[in-house]
Amino acid sequence: MSNAREFNDILDECLEQLLAGDATVEQCLERYPAYAAELEPLLQTILTAREALAIDPGEELRARARYRLRAEMDRVTVRRWWSVLNWQPRWAVAVVAVLAVLLASGSTVLAADSSMPGSPLYPVKLATENVRLALTSSDVARAELCAALANRRIAEMAYAIERGKARQVERAAERLNAHLAMMSRLSLGEGPAQPTAEEAAPSEEKTAGEVPAEKESPEKPSAAAEGPSAVAQEAPGRAAEAPAESAAGQAARERLTALLGEYAVSHPAKLRALAEDAPESARPAIERAIEASVAGYERALDELGSRSAGPQSENSRSEGKGRR
């Protein structure tokens, strides 16, 4: 190591200790007496310079600068998000938007659950129902959900009748019939694997003529519809389970048929009672809607009865017809 390099190292070491307050000029000189004459004026110069350069920005400037930086950081962060969204595929942006809406709207969905036709949250209620239907995996559970939704439509019809809103009564009746049709198909194991939202409940904007017609049963029957033998051919390991599933399905069908029979009696009676107080001008349309819902119940009960003609369902069906 040359003398110059060694001196530079020693000077830096002393400066470091001086700046850190770990040593005085005198202590440094004592440590390196051979370089003391050369070191001393340089260290004194730096002490002077350092003192002069210790410029204090002041608390006011610090606070002002801190505030400005925060504002700038917020602006930069917003722009960063936008730029990230700009180069993402459109589907990713859509997913983010949907997630944001879902995360932000949990309370909205809850509030929408009890909304009625004409409310701004009513479309949210219908959309939430469609999602629930789509996310329900078994046909039996979905059929039971349809029965619950039918109950809701009846409540909505009653609400609209009380207010003399014939158009809302008709739409609720259309949705009710869609639920009933889907319920009977699902109970018989003929429903689609994933019902569409339109099948379950027509959108708020649809007119009566636009309500989709009932779908025919799938051209190719499902393995479940073909019975245990077909399941056994495809999956030998499940042969023993098939009869048990069939028994459970049968029990669910009977339960639903009984429920439908009760609805077919109580719902039209309730609606007709309400219709008596409806405005004269709205009454014809309301009555047509009630008749349409009665027809929907009958169709559903006929379909169920033709497959599972249990004594209870037969009784309920004749009871429903008898009350018309």
């Binding site: 530079n8 830096d12 400066l15 700046l19 340089l42 310079a49 350092r50 920005p57 400037l61 700038e72």
Partner: protein
Amino acid sequence: MAVIVTGSGGYLVQDEQALVRRTQDGDKDAFAELYEAYFDRVYRYVVVRIGNRAEAEDMTQQVFVKAYKSIPSFKWKGAPFSAWLFRIAHNLVVDFHRKESRRPTVPLEESLVASEDDLQKTVERQLDVERVMQAARRLTAAQREVISLRFAGGLAIAEVARAMGRSEGAVKALQHSAIASLRRILLGGENGVER
């Protein structure tokens, strides 16, 4: 590399690397901690380099905003955050001087010590600051940079080397010549300037 630095007012910043990482993950509070740790030092460095307090405030702000914008691409490849930050400050100072060469500058003494309260102290300090700043202006650009980074910015020799893109040995040699020149100039010798 975990670095512990002491910022303004004895503010302690633990694990600088973690703060940078958190900032990169979108944590604005983490960057605020880095800001608190470095604000005074960057400000001093800028003041010394450009000699104008009002301009220094704006430029210091720009340094941190630029750092915040660029921090997602910052990688720890041996260079500490401080060196990277002061490199940003250096580039802004260079830009400033390029623009300033086309217009008159505000006198140093008017802007630099305006906030001092005590008149006697102000006068003395003004003289000291003015002398040192005048002397620093006569140094070469490289010497001035070393003095600014090392004694106004408070960087260690390794950090100065990183910020300037030179070896530690070269920076130590530059430091030696810069202090020697500064001394000669302060003692009144124009001849002390080493070009």
